[in-house]
């Protein structure tokens, strides 16, 4: 292992041990802080008593549904922006502006339309994800190497053949980057909205445990969400690298 990796892991361990000792010795108030060992042990309780596995599945099914919808809508839109440059001139600026707008603040509007339901959560996840898929798809199509298109033309491919045989396969890595971003944004928003509207999977569990003043359970749930999201981001990143060897 590299020294930096060891240093990073050692720091994390030392911080956990210090917290353990400080809380154990009564130097930090137990109504605010919880021993890391208690947090880890409580994750087990959450599986037994709070249906953590079911909530995990619920949150991730919302996330995948949001990102799936974002892909189904975003890829054709991205393609249209590439194919008809005038559309890109008309819409790309607005879409890019959406990408940097605080979209999560729109959730009360979806709440008004769909109520406290899965639909609100998925609609928000879709909205933040679709922008990324559109932009990455268009970018990927623009960056298809001209030599590939030249090969296609020399085989006298039709417009449709050119798209299915050359452009789409060459754009898959870029599209996947967009899908990965959609998954990441969707997960953040799904958990956030679940927490805010007290409905659904993992986010709701945190809100619920906090409302019940179950501090240890709340910390355990937060720790679980962090671990799950970090593993998820790490896996999608590996997958993206594998798809994009360059």
């Amino acid at each position: 292992m590299r020294p930096a990796t060891i240093l990073g892991a050692a720091t994390l361990l030392a911080a956990a041990l210090a917290l353990e000792a400080l809380v154990g010795a009564g130097l930090l108030p137990t109504y605010i802080f919880v021993r890391p060992s208690t947090m880890l042990a409580t994750i087990g309780d959450l599986f037994r008593e709070e249906d953590l596995a079911g909530r995990f599945l619920l949150t991730f099914s919302s996330t995948f549904l949001s990102a799936g919808l974002a892909t189904v809508v975003g890829v054709p839109v991205g393609w249209a922006l590439y194919r008809y440059r005038v559309l890109s001139a008309a819409y790309a600026g607005g879409i890019a502006a959406l990408a940097s707008a605080p979209l999560i603040l729109l959730y009360p509007l979806f709440l008004v339309a769909f109520g406290r339901s899965q639909a609100t959560i998925v609609a928000m996840g879709f909205l933040v994800g679709v922008v990324a898929v559109i932009l990455k798809t268009e970018e990927g199509l623009i960056e298809v190497r001209p030599v590939l298109r030249a090969v296609g033309s020399s085989f006298r491919l039709t417009r449709a053949q050119l798209f299915w045989k050359i452009e789409l396969p060459a754009t898959v890595p870029a599209i996947f980057s967009g899908i990965r971003l959609a998954l990441v944004f969707a997960l953040i928003n799904v958990v956030g909205i679940e927490f805010l509207i007290n409905f659904g999977g993992l986010g709701q569990l945190i809100a619920d445990l906090a409302d019940r003043y179950e501090t240890a359970g709340m910390y355990a749930a937060i720790l679980f969400v962090i671990i799950v999201s970090v593993v998820f981001f790490w896996m999608t990143e590996k997958l993206e690298r594998w798809l994009r060897p360059a």
Partner: protein
Amino acid sequence: MAATGLSAARGHGVATLIQAATLAALWLAWEALARSGLFFEGVVPSSLKVARALAGILVDPALYGALLVTGTEVAAALAIGCGLGIAFGLVGAAVPILGEAYERYIHYLAPTPKIIFLPILLLLFGVGAGMKIAMGALSAFFPMAIATLSGLRQVDPVLVRVGRSFHLTRRQMALKIYLPAALRSVLTGLRLSFGFALVGVLLAEIKMSNRGLGFMAIQFYNHMEIAELYALLLVIFALAAVVNGLIGRLTPRT
């Protein structure tokens, strides 16, 4: 490509036309929905109602009071979060083993939803400005830390050698050589941090607070004053876009 046949100016004109047509179509669709009765009363208020509500809240002193509260909290959150982020970047770049050791944690923690830390911040700071500022600062820290570190790593080694040949102290090196060279990245980080800090503060206000723009928005929601809610969200998005644009303008172009 499809646009090759068109002259650039004509293409631009067509694009503007499409934009105008789209806006008009969206507006008409909105009005049709508002009048259709498909939605429960008030869910899709007519644009006239929203405009009236907008005029109403713009002359209401409550908006400016809330704006002051939220603005101050966002500014404080940015100062703390970005300050710590820049410090992390400087230390990480100056001592490469530290940068390498902690960067991955920052990188993977950055996209986790920060709002879930709100109950912990509530325990630590109680309901009030402290909790909201902490939420904003936590959100602002990560993009700035990542942007500063990556910006500093790309500083031209020639500049560093020039600084060394002038025998600059560490502090001078940081302030005169590294930070100016990494300015672009730092400003990009600031723009991202601003967006995250704003969202952090507003969500904290929405979830548990009794002051600020977020609180105002959720009050409108709770009282089913939907036109006012739309109007307030328009104000918030416009303000966010203006600040975003200002920071973008500061960013030097290469």
